[in-house]
């Protein structure tokens, strides 16, 4: 623990290209880009499957299998496959983003899909009774109702992506993984441990921000006011729903 504090409190470690703030910025950039890509793929797909019930079997099983792909192996495959075909920084960045996005798609997909599917049938019927059409029902009723589960999927994906974005450093990129890889290379365990602590802290901070956003984005009619149920229900579901539906 002392090693970590000594490392973290050294001002030299906070400045410039190699400094902690710059590394955090890089780390957040890789994570954010990968998450946005994953969300663009997974949320519409999940909404579609949840709304129509079509392709459920395929989507659920592909997502389940994607979860089991080891990130390290996929990264090596992508570097060997894409590296020679891309020029400049893209040769390093694209393989990383692919790996992180593959990691993020299953939980987001599961959240979106389960969120829509679990919308109260009476709410759906009421919307139809009011004369809403398919897309209108999806966007104005099902989507808002599904938000808690969509958020829990996003949060679960974010935690995994932020923790895994350290692999960027193994293929020559930056991010907080540099502290781990460089620390290992010169036997600086304080630097390694500091890197691990910073990654965990960053994941926690990002999750807190998501929690705040969720609070404002999700209709109060859904969250209820019973603190116990709000605390446990929606957050538990990201992972467990994927499983119950797969």
């Amino acid at each position: 623990m002392n090693l970590v504090l000594t490392w973290l409190t050294d001002p030299a470690h906070w400045a410039g290209e190699d400094g902690v703030p710059h590394r955090i910025l890089e780390h957040l950039t890789y994570s954010a880009v990968a998450l946005v890509i994953a969300a663009i793929i997974a949320i519409p797909l999940g909404l579609y499957v949840g709304h129509t019930g079509r392709g459920k079997f395929l989507v659920v099983n592909v997502a389940g299998a994607a979860r089991a792909i080891p990130s390290l192996g996929l990264l090596f495959i992508m570097v060997l496959l894409l590296g020679p075909r891309l020029s400049g920084d893209a040769a390093f960045v694209v393989p990383c983003l692919v790996v992180l996005a593959v990691l993020a798609v299953p939980p987001i997909l599961a959240g979106a899909y389960a969120g829509v599917e679990e919308v109260d049938a009476s709410a759906r019927d009421a919307a139809k009774g009011m004369g809403m059409r398919g897309l209108q029902v999806l966007l104005e009723v099902e989507l808002p109702c599904a938000l808690p589960l969509i958020f829990s999927g996003l949060r679960s994906a974010t935690l995994q992506v932020v923790a895994t974005a350290t692999i960027a450093a193994t293929v020559g990129l930056g991010g907080l993984g540099r502290l781990l890889i460089d620390g290992l290379a010169v036997r600086d365990f304080g630097q390694m441990a500091a890197g691990a602590v910073l990654v965990a802290a960053l994941a926690l901070a990002v999750d807190l921000i998501f929690a705040l956003v969720q609070r404002y984005a999700v209709s109060a009619g859904l969250t209820g006011r019973r603190t116990a149920s709000r605390r446990s229900r929606p957050k538990a579901s990201a992972d467990s729903t994927l499983i119950t539906i797969s």
């Binding site: 389940g64 299998a65 979860r67 089991a68 792909i69 080891p70 990130s71 390290l72 192996g73 996929l74 090596f76 495959i77 570097v79 060997l80 496959l81 935690l159 932020v162 923790a163 895994t164 350290t166 993984g177 781990l180 290992l184 365990f189 390694m192 441990a193 890197g195 691990a196 990654v199 965990a200 994941a203 926690l204 116990a228 605390r231 446990s232 957050k235 538990a236 992972d239 467990s240 994927l242 499983i243 119950t244």
Partner: protein
């Protein structure tokens, strides 16, 4: 293809090691998560502390945890125990919340009925609450199993052999086939773990089957 055929025995032995390094922590993690999950449920003050605390463990990068483990627990640097302990930590991180939620999902009326029948707290936990929480806990266990199979492969970087060794070996030689074999074997292994947990759950929750059949 010829590489895979020639190396089948070697790959099988790596699968064996992978099963051990990913599977044993699953059992150990469950044994640790059950009492922690119960504590979180029993004492409401502890709930956020235990859930957030254990959840945070999951965000520790695996490479760092594997390498720093000998410093924390005083083991030898190549000892597979390092990997087993690290993977157990990840399993606990995933399971505590699930166990707590599973126990929480047991209806109050059931607990009251058990108490009325004269069940003490411990007996009630083992005879009523835990069995009823099995489906939820098993769902969490399946997530942990898939996650473990994937994360263990990182241990190749610290020289503990398992399927991840195929990744590093293939990468070092710019040789795709071993990496692909390793990835496919990992996915299949995750599937086998998954099916085993489903089968085990069905075995110990026969009432679920009855309900479905009716």
């Amino acid at each position: 293809m010829s590489w895979s055929i020639d190396h089948l025995p070697a790959v099988l032995s790596l699968i064996g090691r992978h099963v051990y390094l990913a599977g044993l922590p699953l059992l150990l993690g469950l044994l640790i998560a059950v009492p922690l999950g119960w504590l979180a449920r029993r004492y409401r003050v502890l709930y956020p502390l235990l859930i957030a605390g254990t959840g945070l463990l999951y965000t520790i990068p695996s490479l760092a945890l594997f390498i720093l483990m000998p410093i924390f627990i005083g083991t030898r640097i190549l000892d597979p125990v390092n990997v087993v302990v690290a993977m157990t930590i990840y399993t606990v991180a995933l399971l505590v919340r699930t166990v707590a939620d599973g126990l929480g999902a047991v209806p109050d009326s059931v607990n009251q009925a058990a108490t009325a029948m004269g069940f003490g707290r411990v007996r009630r936990l083992f005879m009523v609450e835990l069995p009823l929480a099995v489906p939820v806990i098993s769902a969490g266990l399946r997530v942990a199993a898939v996650s473990n199979v994937s994360i263990v492969s990182v241990a190749a970087i610290i020289g503990v052999p398992q399927l991840g060794s195929l990744f590093t070996d293939g990468f070092r030689r710019n040789f795709m086939e071993p990496i692909l074999v390793g990835v496919i074997a990992c996915v299949l292994l995750a599937l086998v773990f998954d099916l085993a947990i489903i089968a085990g759950t069905r075995l110990i929750t026969p009432w679920q089957r009855t309900r479905r059949a009716a």
